[in-house]
């Protein structure tokens, strides 16, 4: 019994739209499927069972559509254009048993290399875009933004920050105690004396308990009351101020805004739209941003150290302050955040670098403010 019973099936030769109602027979000895119809060339076709493939994800469970393995793929998987629709459940069972690779997904030779080449090319092009072209463009273009625009924009940023921190509007959080402001100005004057700064600095203290400071575009620097309270000496505050002036001078905020305008849309394009896709974009953007910020932070540290040195201020203040930040982070558990995700470099490392610098400060240093000035600065938020 080399033959299974004859059944009917529908055959399309892949060349014409005409349907042929053919006879099908499985020859188990020759391991072929014989397709017979008077209109076929020579009256019949023989399909070797090892080369028979069934179409995948076919909706109809009562039928199976067969085709043959091909040498090359034109517009589909590696299969021929001829199709054979089988409705007979008995034959479907037999074919499922006898055809060894019925469900196999054949892949053309060289496919993996093609995928790797294309993926590599795309990743390379995107990396070039995100890490080289966009930052370079941002750096170049940032210099062309007129300073008065930057100053106006910085004002909006500072005002927005005040609202974000709970203030009622622009200027509502700024501390204005006269003696305190004088002390702050004295500190700024001594730090910037002899320095060739591009921006006119606008320095303010916000009445807020957070231990923080930030720079906004166009020469704006803001210190928080919490930071003044945390500091034990004016030199510590001077270190922070120098650091923020470093950000101002290198236009970090402006450059970052331009760069992320370019890369934000690009990332969401790549990661696409699936469950959790939005979160993935956020994480990617944050990581990217943090890596740029870390470089900028390191550069601002160097700037601050040089500024302290030039003004004859002890850089040890910076080291002390970073030790406090490290302590604070340890308490709050923020240190559990891996370094590549944290926007600021490791505080211990920064303290260490500052201390090393301080030891090499060759000549004598003097405190940046007198005791009285320092007291006034600490009370800047008291009316």
């Amino acid at each position: 019994m080399a033959y299974h019973a004859l059944t009917q099936a529908r055959f399309f030769d892949g060349e014409q739209g005409l349907r042929l109602d053919v006879d099908l027979q499985v020859d188990t000895a020759a391991e072929t499927l014989r397709i017979t119809h008077p209109d076929l060339p020579m009256g019949s076709q023989y399909w070797p069972l090892w080369a028979v493939r069934a179409l995948s994800d076919h909706a109809r469970e009562d039928q199976m559509i067969l085709t043959l393995l091909a040498d090359s793929a034109l517009d589909s998987s590696l299969i021929m254009t001829a199709r054979l629709t089988v409705d007979d459940p008995a034959l479907i069972t037999i074919l499922t048993r006898l055809c060894p690779d019925l469900r196999k997904k054949d892949v053309a030779r060289g496919t993996y290399r093609r995928v790797l080449t294309w993926t590599g090319g795309a990743v390379g092009a995107l990396a070039l875009m995100i890490f080289v072209i966009l930052p370079a463009m941002a750096n170049t273009l940032a210099a062309y933004i007129p300073i008065e625009r930057e100053v106006a924009w910085g004002k909006t940023v500072v005002g927005g920050m005040e609202r974000f921190l709970g203030g009622s509007g622009a200027g509502s959080l700024v501390c204005r105690n006269d003696d305190g402001v004088d002390a702050l100005n004295a500190m700024t004057r001594r730090l910037t004396e002899g320095q060739d700064l591009e921006y006119e600095l606008t320095i303010a203290v916000f009445d807020h308990p957070m231990v923080n400071a930030f720079a906004a575009p166009g020469g704006h620097v803001v210190l928080m009351r919490g930071l003044l309270a945390k500091a034990d000496s004016p030199d510590e505050v001077a270190a922070v101020l120098g650091h923020e002036i470093g950000h101002v001078e290198s236009r970090d905020v402006t450059r970052n805004a331009l760069r992320s305008a370019g890369s934000a849309g690009l990332l969401s394009l790549v990661l696409g739209d699936f469950a959790g896709g939005g979160a993935a974009v956020l994480i990617a953007e944050w990581t990217l941003n943090a890596s740029y910020t870390r470089e900028a932070e390191a550069a601002a540290d160097v700037f601050a150290l040089e500024m302290l040195d030039a003004s004859g201020t002890d850089a040890g203040g910076m080291a002390d302050f970073f030790d406090k930040i490290a302590e604070l982070q340890r308490k709050e558990g923020a240190r559990s955040m891996p370094a590549f995700l944290a926007s600021h470099p490791d505080s211990h490392a920064r303290a260490h670098a500052a201390r090393a610098f301080a030891e090499n400060q060759s000549y004598g240093t003097t405190p940046i403010l007198t005791k009285r000035e320092w007291a006034a600065l600490q009370n800047i938020c008291k009316d």
Binding site: F12, G17, A59, D75, L141, T254, G272, A275, G276
Partner: protein, 403 residues
Amino acid sequence: MSAQIQGRYFGKGAPLFKLYFITAIFTVLTLGIYRFWAKTRIRKYIWSSVTGDDDSFEYTGTGLEKFLGFLVAIVVLAIYLGIFQLLLTFIGFSVIPQDNSPQAIAGQAAAINLSILAVVPLMLFAQYRARRYKMARTRWRGIRFGMENGAWGYVARALAYFVLVILTLGILNPLATFKLEKYMADRGWYGDGKFEQMGRWQDLYKGMKHVFIGIGLLIASGVLFAIGAPEEQLSLLILGGIGVFVAYFWLLIGLVYYRVYAFNYLTRHKVLDGQVTFDAQLETSTVIAKVIVGSIVIAVLMGVIFAVIAGVGAAVFAGAGATGELGAGSIVGGIVVVILYAAAFLVAGGLSLVMITQPIIEHAVNSITVFNSDHLDTIRQRSADSFADADGFADALDVGGAI
């Protein structure tokens, strides 16, 4: 003798939902990369559910092809959009005042609109390419469909018609619908048989009637408000309020009615190879009923699912609160909640495919008749089209739609 073929749809909810859910999980596990294979598999299922004369349609695209096409599209788009957005932001900072003056706000709004407008031609391009790709990867009786290249011509025409429609306050919408469909349909092929879109664009005005009634109601309500407000006539204001409410729904349904009407009309006036004609009997009421019923079922199911997840979450965090610290158990519990939450979104996507999209496709397919179908026997095969970009632009710009 003129034979005819009635379209029939064989797809079922359960297997499609299962396919969607499993492929969606793979998509999440592969950080989105599997989505090209997922979409391909779902297309294969839906295409193969459509039959004419008991011969199934076939989708021959592959996930790999889509993936590579996406890579091509992404590189092109990344360069275009990245540089464009950055330049636009730069111009925004340098030219537009950064304060709260009216000029500043107008300028910022213009910049945002400009950046959206920059993507519109690409989206139209993607739309045409996606239709062309799907046509080229569709077969029936082993014969390929196909579509000629003409994406940029489509972009130019579509932009021109959109401007025209906006300038005429929507009155010339039927012209745009007809001409754009004709542009695409006339470039379509089945084997060596060419499609042609016949008919007149003016005929589509009948389909606009409910849209016009809705707009009329809206204007009438506005007039009632205008009269009633200065004299504080409550009855007029209430009537106006009811009018706006009714007009809103009338307009919404009117738009569906127009789309269904246009689909039927355009299908009835298509001719293949000069001999084969078609009929479509889609019903607005059926389409709307399927959308409403589907939406209600999904809303109820999702409500239940999210309530259960919230319950699990509450239990987890209540446990944590009792011990006063986040133990290993509650962390695992938190992860479970996050996973359940993500899974619920996948379920929602699958349900909308199964409860709304597929039933409407089913209704459309079952309503289509092909006349003079004997002629289809004489159609010969056409050669394969290769696509470097597949429908990658549509994927990247998210204009692909549900399937």
